[in-house]
Subunit: 206 residues, 2 copies
């Protein structure tokens, strides 16, 4: 089945499955089932089987899934058997936390360039890299063939910086600014807005 036929909501669950399988591998586990994954993830076992069936036959009737095999298959499907170089724009409190975040490397991502427009931040050292002037963004992103960008900056700057990233060749943007940005259809964007997640939950509270 061609990639574009899989619903995006299914694609969005694959990293969750990959995360669970990776933990299990680290625990020395070898076999799991859609039932066990269901219990761990709060997603129905039927949904998990259906999601995975878009990509092949990974389980054997009655014996379940071989964890490391399924993990490797999901890594391939998500294109994270390699490491993607990432440009981080914005070196405020959040950018600082992201630059030092240890969770990217094991998942296939490495922040290789950090940009800001604040003269006091430009030139600072961060995890072996130097914060660069945002004026250099287009040149650096192009030279290093960076396809993935993270924006940790004020809403007022988000659209302008997104346009710069796209102009330089970026195809996927993770946006922490709480504002929707307009991008060409071939560029992907995901939003992280913690307040929206909190509001999603307070709906259920009195």
């Amino acid at each position: 089945m061609a990639s574009n036929e899989v619903p995006d909501i299914v694609v969005g669950r694959l990293p969750i499955y990959l995360r669970a399988l990776t933990f299990m591998t680290e625990e020395g586990r070898q076999i799991t089932s859609s039932q066990e994954l269901s219990q761990k993830l709060g997603i129905s076992s039927a949904q998990i089987r259906k999601d995975l069936s878009h990509f092949g036959e990974f389980g054997k009737q009655g014996t379940g899934y071989e964890i490391s095999y399924l993990r490797d298959q999901l890594k391939g499907i998500l294109h994270v058997e390699r490491t993607w170089p990432v440009a981080l724009v914005g070196y405020g409190d959040l950018g600082h936390a992201l630059a030092h975040y240890g969770g990217f490397a094991p998942k296939g991502f490495e922040i290789v360039a950090v940009f800001d427009n604040d003269p006091e931040k430009i030139g600072q050292q961060v995890a072996g890299k130097t914060v660069m002037d945002i004026a250099e963004l287009t040149k650096v992103v192009r030279e290093r063939s960076i396809k993935v960008g993270i924006m940790a900056l004020p809403s007022s700057a988000a659209q302008k910086v997104a346009d710069m990233l796209v102009e330089a060749g970026v195809k996927a943007i993770l946006n922490y600014a709480p504002i929707n940005i307009s991008l060409p259809p071939e560029v992907r964007v995901q939003y992280i807005d913690p307040a929206a997640h909190l509001q999603h939950m307070t709906y259920y509270l009195e």
Copy 2:
């Protein structure tokens, strides 16, 4: 219609609509349409109308939605016409960024208590508050009737701290640790895992 009849995925889109409407209000706008919201948000106008129809009749045929009215209605539905006190657990790089994040207050949340288990961090001042010993978590959360928690801590501590929060009365947890946690059914959890968002996008990249 009772709250529990609305699909959770619909509930999850309401904060996105609220965010867009809030921006429009700030821009001095008065009327919008499902078509305009669709263009801004990349969600079909039919979906937007259907989502909102779960909660009432907000638009008038041919004249669209009154922005500030719909915004206020959504605030009510999401229970954010009030401000929820929030407990933040973990004062590392990410906790520091969250404690200083300006995006919570306008959305109905205020971090009123910060906890860590590191003696070097306990006692530090953060935005007018003092970082407290995690040993005090249960007492403080209970005394202040805190129902919402944010966990910005290592995966290894996530389940234990989640159990403490629930024991103290928390009903909604935003978890930044990249690990799935087990909670009683009446407690909500949302995950923020930036690497999972990146993997969701690299699926579409070559």
